[in-house]
Amino acid sequence: MAFYTLGLTFSIMIALTVAVLAVWIYGLYFNFKKWGMGSTGYQDELRNSFWLFIATWIHEAFKDGIWVFIKTLILDVFLLRRTLRRSPIRWVMHMSIFYGFLMLATFSGLGMVMDVIEHFDVFGLAHFAEMVKVWSQLPFDIFGYLLFFGITISVIRRIFLKDVRGNTTAYDVVLIGGVFLITITGFYAEWLRGNSFLVGDAFTNPIYAPHFSLIHTILALALFAFILPWSRYIHVIAAPLTILANRGGE
């Protein structure tokens, strides 16, 4: 069952999602083009080329061979080895946020595809799509808690550690506060729907569930497409690419 409110329909939501994805993809292109301003090598001239950035990145990332690339991808990108070496607490925080966010985004994408299949009964798979959506509720909840756990550590660090607090800027507050808010609204929307992991039907309220769901969706999409690619939060994409380009770094 889909939750729509305030006159929104399935078609409008799909159109909005496509528009948001288009903004997101253009944002990525814009950043790649910006990075492509640079040269391809030491003492080379500025290039200003999207494709030359891709070529330079591939050249740098694979300079030491495919195995170094794979090792870096697993140890430094997926397992955040560099962060673990410096601070186990920060590592737990980052891993929770990273995988919580990544998996929720994946399941959201999957949910959207299932919605489309269910709505148009693609290949007669409407029932299967509904089953997948039911099946994905538990992992959705678990990764939601994981994200919540990580973001809570982040907020606590920013509030209680003097040095960290002292160097916290408005940008940090917006990002961490934004993710925190999105996570909280997501949980509340989920709890209002009922039959949730850990809390069951304790907060069930079908009338307001769609409203919270909408707030959560708008906040998440706004962060995803309208803030992330256009601000320094692009580090979510740039940091893994940097680690790979520098083959794990110093």
Binding site: W35, R47, N167, I234, A239, T242, N246, G249, E250
Partner: protein
């Protein structure tokens, strides 16, 4: 006629370095380790995290979404000069890169941003302006004569015109710390190693130019030195100066278009081989000296991924541990996490107070482990740590590894009379009877005249 507007970036930055600017996660780890922020802890803007954020902001004003839609903002020169100030308050030691969660190669990044500031006319800083002038004119930063390059070599020492092994002494050993040069020559002779030196054909490695973003004279020096070494048929070049070693290993090949047939080897690695093979004969044990090693950034962190950790960190330690009468003591911050002495990146010339502050902190590190001697394999680190010692009023002595080794081998390291005697700046190792002790040097004329 209106003054031509200079772009913020005119070159030098690779596209992956533009990516790095966006890769900073603001985790603040670099701030915990930055040696200059340790000294000026009321200026967070000099730390890598803030510098990256500022440069990104400046770039954004020229190339960001708003600039694309509504046109670029006019650059505020005061803001850029402030950024220049912050960018040059950095020794390019690279510890920020070592601890960076995103693996940003910070040394290369600073060295790519600085030439853009130089091209705009904002940089470099203070006396750093003299580097290209001095090197272009004299081929060394001490305004010394090139003909005097080998004036420190004793008459009875054997230095060949060409050989498979070359000793690249560097400007500081040739003119300011000649005891290091003499000790190196004596050790190589005592081990019966036939070696050559470039003499007047040895031009400054130009490390200071690259670090401060002044690349104009660099090409001449790199090409000249490589050609001079090739002309002599050299297969191995040994360096007792970490700055020269780093520049020859990483920077020269970027400027030299042909094939480079020789390999660059830290002297410590070469000497360890000789110690391990039993070729070194120890004669005078040091007098129970407690020695700690200061890892130079240039031969350690900067080269650990090029030459490996063994060459970068373990070889010098193995040599110390082999010297009789020497008790080796590790400082808390060592190897890739060592604290920079403060001399690098043009800071010694540009911001001497900052350099001194870093050096004092390093001397305190040595005192913490109750070392008698802070030793290194970089004459420039040694010079700055000595200045720090004098500033702190510490009793710790400062010596190069090669000199300690030469003393324990009982070699005659007396510097022959030459025009640069009054500029010598090194604590001396005095060997009387059967023991060797360290003696502090008096202040020299070098401190009054050197811009380097």
């Amino acid at each position: 006629m209106a003054e031509e507007k200079k772009p913020l970036v005119s070159g030098f930055l690779k596209s992956t370095q533009f990516l790095e600017l966006d890769g900073c996660t603001r985790c603040q780890e670099c701030m915990k380790w930055c040696p200059t922020y340790d000294v000026y802890n009321d200026r967070p803007e000099i730390t890598p995290m803030y510098k990256i954020a500022k440069f990104r902001e400046l770039l954004g004003s020229q190339n960001g979404l708003r600039a694309k839609l509504f046109g670029a903002k006019e650059l505020n020169e005061d803001e850029i000069n402030q950024f220049m100030d912050d960018t040059y308050m950095c020794t390019t030691c690279g510890v920020c890169g070592t601890v960076c969660s995103s693996g940003i190669n910070t040394v290369e990044l600073w060295e790519a941003i600085r030439p853009n500031l130089v091209t705009r006319g904002n940089g470099p800083w203070g006396k750093q302006n003299f580097f290209p002038i001095l090197l272009g004119k004299d081929r060394n930063p001490y305004q010394a004569k090139q003909e005097d390059r080998l004036c420190f070599v004793p008459d009875d020492a054997e230095v060949l015109d060409s050989a498979k092994i070359a000793y690249f002494a560097g400007c500081t050993a040739a003119y300011r710390q000649q005891a290091l040069g003499v000790a190196t020559v004596r050790i190589l002779n005592s081990l019966d190693i036939p070696f050559c030196m470039l003499g007047k054909d040895e031009w400054c490695c130009s490390s200071a130019l690259v670090r401060t973003g002044q690349r104009d004279v660099m090409r001449d020096h790199a090409v000249h030195n490589v050609d001079a070494l090739k002309d002599r048929g050299v297969e191995t070049v040994v360096y007792a100066c970490a700055g020269c070693l780093r520049t020859a290993t990483i920077d020269w090949p970027r400027w030299y278009e042909g094939y480079i047939p020789y390999k660059n080897v830290p002297l410590a690695v070469y000497l360890r081989e000789k110690v391990d093979s039993g070729e070194v004969e120890w004669k005078l044990p040091l007098n129970d000296l407690k020695v700690t090693y200061h890892d130079p950034c240039h031969s350690g962190r900067h080269l650990m991924h090029v030459n490996g950790r063994d060459w970068a960190f373990e070889a010098p330690r193995d040599v110390y541990k082999a010297i009789p009468g020497l008790h080796y003591q590790e400082m808390t911050r060592s190897r890739e996490f060592q604290r920079c002495c403060g001399a690098g990146g043009g800071v010694k010339a540009g911001q001497p107070d900052l350099a001194l502050g870093c050096a004092v902190a390093r001397v305190r590190d040595g005192e913490e482990v109750e070392a008698d001697v802070i030793s290194s394999t970089c004459p420039f680190c040694r010079r700055n740590i000595m200045d720090g010692r004098n500033e702190a009023g510490s009793s710790v002595k400062v010596a190069d590894q090669v000199e300690l080794m030469a003393a324990a081998m009982g070699l005659d390291v007396v510097i022959p009379d030459n025009p640069y005697m009054e500029y010598q700046e090194q604590d001396e190792i005095a060997c009387k009877g059967e023991i060797c002790q360290m003696e502090e040097t008096a202040e020299t004329k070098a401190q009054d005249v050197d811009g380097y």
